[in-house]
């Protein structure tokens, strides 16, 4: 504080700033790229899995089940691992959560099942539920008899699912097993949603998202139509007319802005766009990355962009968040991971000014923040400036309502927070439209989206068979 207040009172001559940003591809050797973007956590082998499974107490009324948004019977699947009944374990998982393989890798287990594990209260490590879940699902996927689902008698009903992310694909799969036919529309060229475009590369390597989609589609009865964006090629009202029911799982397409001058400078980018490019890059050594990176935000996207740019060879990555450590949406585990990857996390500072040169951002000025007497976040007036090649914005995304509007009017009820309003069954204000995933309120997690899709499918089935 002393330094910064001093700086505020006595302006110091800025050191000369290099005129051109240092943004380059191929900062690392091929081995380094491979190493940096391979599996974050290696798979458990059989022996380790069994030893870990044996740590589970097989609790009665197990807290972990309650902590799982999809309600997987965790003690049961872990017990089955311990008896080498891997197929049975995977069946327990996938019947509750068809994306159990992805969730095993991307779930913030430290805040969900593993946080609830009774082992924590014994001053001990929780059972590694996520890694065991991965062991079971991966084990099933290697088997010839991996198709554990069958479809019920055809119902003749047809349901439109908009969005091929976790919510939509979960919904589609459940509907297909219940005997319905499904058409899934997605704006992109691939299915998977955030699993394909948004999750950090080292969490879902080896094209896992597409393998999972292939497994989901192998049930049959699901037709995929890519490059069909809602509000463009397809309209909600038409789908309502042509299908027996509609599920909306379009996610959040709007990226929040800083609201600062200079935001349109080159080098000021949306984190989600860069991550999507990184996920789709066939050759990471061709992907340019800045030498000095500043990330603004406190959620998992902020962490993901920070770690991934560091792993692409950025020299300095500074993540700046306007509040404290405990206020960050990113879990402690994610924050720790970022720090272990050499990311510097600065708390209590907000961006004030983007300073460019020749149309490209070169510096970013932050103001320290604090909570005032009433608990409101305010700037202290003290500032600091960072030299930067790229600024990544990761301050959240929002639902863009225009696709579910017609003539400027909402077709379905939108909540005060700007998301689609649903009931317990994930049914919207329209009687034949359900919604789930990030476009409704709730935890913005893959696992929560899968649960939304599952619940909606069950409700749709009930409604259609009534």
């Amino acid at each position: 504080m002393t330094d910064s207040s001093h700086a505020a009172k006595t302006p110091i001559e800025m050191p000369p700033v290099p005129e051109t940003p240092d943004i380059a591809a191929g900062r690392l050797s091929p081995e380094e790229y491979k190493e940096n973007f391979s599996d974050l956590l290696p798979a458990l082998d059989r022996r380790r899995a069994i030893i870990e499974a044996d740590r589970c107490y097989f609790c009665y009324d197990a807290p972990c089940i309650e902590a799982c948004p999809t309600g997987i019977d965790i003690p049961s699947f872990i017990h089955k691992i311990s008896t080498d009944n891997v197929k049975g374990a995977a069946t327990d998982i996938l019947t509750a959560n068809i994306m159990g393989g992805a969730c095993a890798r991307v779930c913030p287990v430290e805040e969900l099942c593993e946080d609830a594990c009774v082992r924590n209260t014994q001053n001990s490590q929780p059972v590694k539920i996520g890694r065991l879940q991965r062991y079971a699902v991966d084990g099933l996927m290697q088997r010839d008899d991996k198709q554990i689902f069958t479809r019920k008698e055809p119902t003749g009903k047809k349901i439109a699912v908009i969005g091929a992310g976790p919510a939509g694909m979960s919904c589609a799969h459940r509907l297909a097993t219940l005997g319905h036919n499904v058409v899934v529309f997605d704006a992109k060229t691939k299915a998977g949603g955030l699993n394909e475009y948004g999750i950090a590369a080292y969490k879902l390597p080896d094209d896992f998202a597409q393998k999972e989609i292939d497994y989901i589609l192998s049930i049959g009865g699901i037709e995929m139509r890519y490059e069909h964006a809602l509000g463009e090629k397809i309209k909600l009202e038409e789908l309502r007319r042509d299908f027996d029911a509609v599920f909306v799982g379009t996610g959040l397409s709007g990226v929040n802005k800083l609201g600062l001058d200079g935001e349109d400078l080159k080098g000021v980018e949306n984190a989600v766009d860069y991550i999507a490019a990184l996920r789709q890059a066939k050759d990471l050594s061709k992907l340019p990355v800045g030498r000095k990176i500043v990330v603004i935000g406190g959620g998992n996207t902020a962490i993901d962009i920070a770690i991934q740019t560091k792993r692409l060879g950025a020299e300095d990555v500074t993540l700046v968040y306007r509040r404290g450590e405990d206020d960050m949406n990113a879990t402690w585990h994610e924050q720790e991971l970022a720090q272990n990857n050499g990311v510097v996390i600065k708390h209590w500072a907000q961006p004030k000014r983007l300073i460019g040169w020749n149309g490209h951002v070169r510096q970013i000025e932050f103001e320290y923040t604090q909570l005032d007497g009433s608990g409101k976040l305010t700037g202290t007036g003290d500032t600091f400036t960072l030299l930067v090649d790229t600024v990544f914005k990761a301050i959240g995304q929002h639902f863009v309502p225009s696709p579910v509007q017609e003539g400027g009017r909402d077709l379905l009820t939108i909540t005060p927070k700007g998301k689609i309003a649903v009931n317990e069954d994930r049914q919207t204000s329209l009687d034949n439209v359900w919604a789930g995933g990030d476009c409704i309120e709730g935890q913005d997690l893959t696992v929560a989206a899968v649960e939304d899709g599952k619940r909606a499918a069950i409700a749709i089935d009930r409604a259609l068979s009534a």
Partner: protein, 424 residues
Amino acid sequence: MADLSSNFVGIKSPNPFWLASAPPTDKEYNVVRAFEAGWGGVVWKTLGEDPPVVNVSSRYGAMHYSGQKIAGFNNIELITDRPLDVNLKEIERVKKNWPDRAMVVSLMVPCEEESWEKILRRVETTGCDGIELNFGCPHGMSERGMGSAVGQVPEYIQMVTEWCKKHTKIPTLVKLTPNITNILLPARAAVNGGADGVSLINTINSITAVNLDIMAPEPVVNGKGAHGGYCGPAVKPIALNMVGEIARDPECKNIPISGIGGVETWRDAAEFIALGAGTVQVCTAAMHYGFKIVEDMVDGLNNWMDEKGYHSIDDFRGAASKNFVDWGQLDMNYDIKALINQDLCIKCGLCHIACEDTSHQAITAERVDGQRKYTVIDEECVGCNLCMHVCPVEDCITMEEVQHDKPYMTWLEDPRNPANKKTA
């Protein structure tokens, strides 16, 4: 420092930890390594008549439990497969080089006096401290009329023991098989035959696992399996009971016992000694971890004895024996109730579900302010201990004695005993 030295039927050793007759004691090389590691004595792997037996390939099976290797172990190996001469020369040399260690030689020959007399004469020349008659081996040799085939017939035990006592002055231990219904009958036969001591238990007839791909018992020998002798930690409770039964049997006349069966730690050894054993013999633990484990056995027993104020093995030998009684001698008025320490409870619910599903419905499962709570219903609790055993947290569930002024009352004295009603 307590004195761990042992004088068992006249056989002296610096500590009561002997290696049992088994693969670890088959050769000079192994036995010397064992003595270097600190073992008090060995029972040399069973000698037989020449030509030596021939063993099969694939000899051990194991019971792994909950990620723990070798909770139980079995073998289908026979007695030593080396020529008698070679063994005798090595025994003589080892005894000469390690005079303070116990050297007992295990023997098994056909059930004829002449065979026993012949081998005893040769064994005596080695200078060994004692012999152990292998009447226990349950596999292979028993099919040839030896081992447990003798041990299962008390008359044979007595007869062979008498022959041995007649033909040698060396202390004679009789190793008993647990593959019988009542251990006291062979034990008494050994006593009556003049045995100086008994060692038990030998291994138990067993199949450790069935290979479900080959469809044959483990260990599989080219598609087939035979029963083997079971040992290791899993058999300790059976061995403790048999040792305890002999120790408290008046007809066994306090015959010295060398306790065998699942001894892996100093605590196991202390338990055998507390029930009456004078020495313990170890095999599986050494085969699992190597000879070094004896260090903790010696050290741990010593520290525990110091803590308890025992100066020698004899100070606590048999101390638990007087409390090992028949069921009918237990106190019917003793009353305990489970008590769950709510501060230690981790809410796993195992106590509840165990009691609810399989016992007395004496533990409730509730949600109090959203938190799981498990509580004992004293009126329903019979004090069975099940919840305490399933609870994963140490000292979370304790069994608390209900205070009352009722006297110690056995079932024989209990008015609820129908036999007492008749006389009333």
